[in-house]
């Protein structure tokens, strides 16, 4: 009995009782449908959870300059000024595992509006990329500053919730001007609330401005004078500075000629930044991102092999670990649910196949009388079971996919199509067909033809 005839015989038998075939398949349809829907909704939820954890900064890598040392005295990390904004651009350009990078400069000084003042613990000069890396792009009010603001050294800033509340109370700060060290900054937006970080410090007590503005207009103008009143006498120098940068790109050096550039390819380093904030494309990419950043920076900083790095890269190990364990937990949970659904479906198939064997005892006897061997009968019933499971699996995939689509449409839950789940469902439903179809088929093949023919 060749395979084609075996399949044809099984198909003919199935077609003879479409109602029974349909009911049998129903178990598998629901089982596989549940698996697919659970997998899609689950994967969606899982990646939403991962995204949430990632937004806490799990993918963030911090590049900080190395330590300065003089006569055996070291000054701690960040005390050397080796990082430049060009390093940041190079990282973004040359490291495929890095999603985004933003230079960061620090300042700490007083912010004044009307008769109110406040000293935010975090005052950062950066680029709009910072908001993307920290997952802070949804502002509570207004709009973020732009790359153009960074290039033009524009006096614009974003306020954190705490700072905005302290300075403006109930007023809307958008479009108002605040003074930072006697420089007038226009508030263009208010950040959404982020609350305290894991260490308990308030992340909303923050001011963000273009790094060029902070560098050249706030920290660069006079050195480390945190108290605004003490430098209030230097308002004339401020005016001078405003004339030096009347809104154009800062040109600290005369433009180099082509000959100069060829003779001395070393870029002119005219700005140092305090750190570079980068985000890896995903949690798994963090090790390769670290490696790529190290290579790029060692090359740019001309560090010979064997010499130590002049920078440090920090990652958020604690958060990454949380992320990994959450992902594993979700995957295992989904697997358990999927297995239970499929076993239920399989038991349904076995039940109906057993009933079917009893119901078709005479047919089995007849087939044996005209020359079917035990294994022919076994094969026929197995093929029937597997065919039912495969058809059920196919319909189940459609049902599950449709179900998760409806969930997405009506409940707006995150849903992700999972080709792996589909492939697994097809394989598993075939396996279920064989596993649960085997006992009834084996029972059928063991029937005695004489008894079977006499069966009423």
């Amino acid at each position: 009995m060749n395979a084609y005839r075996a399949v044809k015989t099984a198909m003919t038998s199935l077609r003879r009782n479409p109602m029974r075939a349909m009911l049998t398949t129903l178990g598998i349809i629901i089982g596989v449908g549940a698996v697919i829907a659970m997998m899609e909704i689950g994967t969606g939820s899982s990646s939403a959870i991962q995204k949430t954890i990632a937004s806490m900064g799990a993918n963030v890598l911090l590049v900080i300059p190395g330590t300065a040392a003089s006569s055996g005295v070291t000054f701690g990390t960040g005390s050397r000024t080796t990082l430049t904004p060009e390093d940041c651009e190079a990282i973004l350009r040359e490291c495929p595992a890095v999603r985004n990078a933003a230079p960061v400069v620090w300042a700490r000084t007083q912010v004044v509006y009307g008769n109110r003042n406040w000293v935010p613990p975090t005052m950062l000069g950066t680029t709009p990329a910072f908001l993307d890396i920290r997952d802070w792009a949804n502002l509570a009010e207004g709009e973020p500053f732009t790359e153009r603001d960074v290039l033009n050294v524009n006096k614009v800033c974003l306020l954190g919730q705490t700072l905005a509340r302290e300075l403006f109370q109930e007023e809307s700060p958008i479009g108002k001007e605040i003074r930072i060290k006697n420089v007038l900054f226009r508030v263009v937006g208010v950040l959404s609330s982020k609350g305290a970080n894991m260490m308990g410090s308030d992340q909303d007590d923050i001011l963000l401005a273009p790094w060029t503005t902070i560098k050249y207009r706030v920290t660069g103008s006079t050195l480390t004078t945190a108290n605004q009143s003490s430098s209030s006498g230097s308002s004339s120098s401020l005016n001078t500075l405003s004339n030096v940068y009347p809104g154009g790109q800062p040109e600290l050096y005369p433009e180099r000629s082509a000959v100069q550039a060829a003779n001395n390819p070393m870029p002119v380093r005219f700005a140092n930044i305090n750190q570079i904030l980068t985000a890896a494309t995903s949690a798994e990419e963090i090790p390769s991102a670290i490696q790529q950043i190290t290579e790029v920076l060692r090359e740019r900083h001309r560090i010979r092999p064997g010499e130590p790095d002049d920078f440090t890269i920090r990652d958020m190990t604690e958060m990454t670990r949380t992320l990994t364990s959450t992902t594993n937990l979700m995957t295992n949970l989904l697997l358990c649910v999927a297995m239970i659904s499929l076993v239920v479906g399989g038991v349904g198939i076995m039940n109906i196949m057993l009933v079917s064997v009893t119901e078709r005892t005479r047919e089995i006897g007849l087939r044996m009388a005209v020359g079917a061997r035990g294994r022919d009968i076994l094969r026929q019933f197995l093929i029937e079971a597997v065919a039912l499971c495969l058809v059920g699996g196919g319909l189940g995939i459609l049902l599950g996919h449709g179900g998760s689509y409806l969930v997405w449409v009506f409940l707006h839950w995150p849903v992700e199509t999972s080709p792996l789940a589909i492939a697994a469902a097809v394989l598993v439903s075939a396996a279920v067909g064989i596993a649960f179809g085997f006992y009834p088929a084996w029972k059928a093949s063991r029937l005695d033809p004489i008894e079977a023919l006499r069966y009423e």
Binding site: M1, N2, R5, A6, K8, T9, T12, R16, N17, R362, E363, G365, L366, R367, M368, A369, V370, G371, A372, R373, G374, R375, D376, P449, I450, L453
Partner: protein, 252 residues
């Protein structure tokens, strides 16, 4: 060479500890082209004998040669193959596959052996067989659309599809009225006469048995009578006479 040679066939069933002997030493032989009736009341052992002759069952002891080959010790798979190639069965309750048309019912035995036959060849042969039994115009009718006699003729076509050397008919007219019974029985006679197919009718009914050219009576597991009155015509006349005088149909 005889088609069937039985020597001292015994068959004993065991109901727990109790041994129930059903066949107690049956010896007989059947030649090619015979039309034979196995007769006996229910419980006489005729069905058991038919199962053994039809290779559905094995005797407890004794020898059974089918076309000269000893078959009493064959495994169930070997017997399945033998049934497929050499034997055909017609049952009292037809045993057609429901919701399957006549043509597919007839081709069914071919799926288990005749790998050399193409699908088209198999269908052609089945159509030929159905035409032979007079159902050439009802190839695509399902059993529920056929009368009892027609269903039995489909079953006969199915029994003949593998060109067997021996056809068993187990109470073939048990579910038919007297007129269609006559039709079916004369079809057996015709197949026997024209195609030379050996046919064994198993029945308790003397009316059926009289269509055979040789009648074997079984009682309590042994052959009590074996008459073969030469020609079919004689047998018919004799049986009719016997039937009119005695209900059992025993020869006078």
């Amino acid at each position: 060479m005889q088609l069937i040679e039985l020597r001292a066939i015994h068959k004993t069933y065991y109901l727990g500890e109790i041994a129930v002997p059903v066949l107690k030493g049956v010896s007989m032989s059947v030649a090619h082209g015979e039309l034979l009736a196995l007769m006996g009341v229910s419980g006489s052992g005729k069905s058991t004998l038919m199962n053994i002759l039809g290779c559905l069952d094995r005797p407890t002891s004794g020898e059974y040669r089918l076309e000269g080959r000893e078959v009493s010790h064959l495994s169930s798979d070997q017997r399945a193959l033998l049934r497929n190639e050499k034997l055909g069965f017609v049952f009292q309750n037809f045993n057609l596959l429901p919701r399957t048309n006549a043509l597919e019912n007839v081709t069914m035995p071919l799926t288990y052996a005749a790998d050399h036959l193409s699908e088209r060849e198999a269908r052609r042969r089945a159509a030929e067989m159905l035409t032979r039994v007079g159902l050439g115009d009802r190839l695509d009718h399902e059993p529920s659309q056929l009368s009892g006699g027609q269903q039995q003729r489909v079953a006969i076509a199915r029994a003949l599809i593998n060109r067997p050397s021996l056809v068993f008919a187990d109470e073939p007219t048990g579910n038919l009225d007297s007129r269609t019974s006559e039709d079916v029985l004369s079809m057996f006679q015709e197949l026997n006469k024209e195609d030379g197919i050996t046919i064994i009718l198993v029945t308790h009914d003397a009316n059926v048995a009289r269509h055979a050219r040789r009648i074997i009576q079984i009682h309590d597991g042994v052959i009590v009578d074996d008459v073969s009155p030469g020609t079919g015509a004689f047998a018919e006349a004799r049986s009719e006479k016997a039937f009119s005088t005695s209900e059992t149909g025993d020869s006078p």
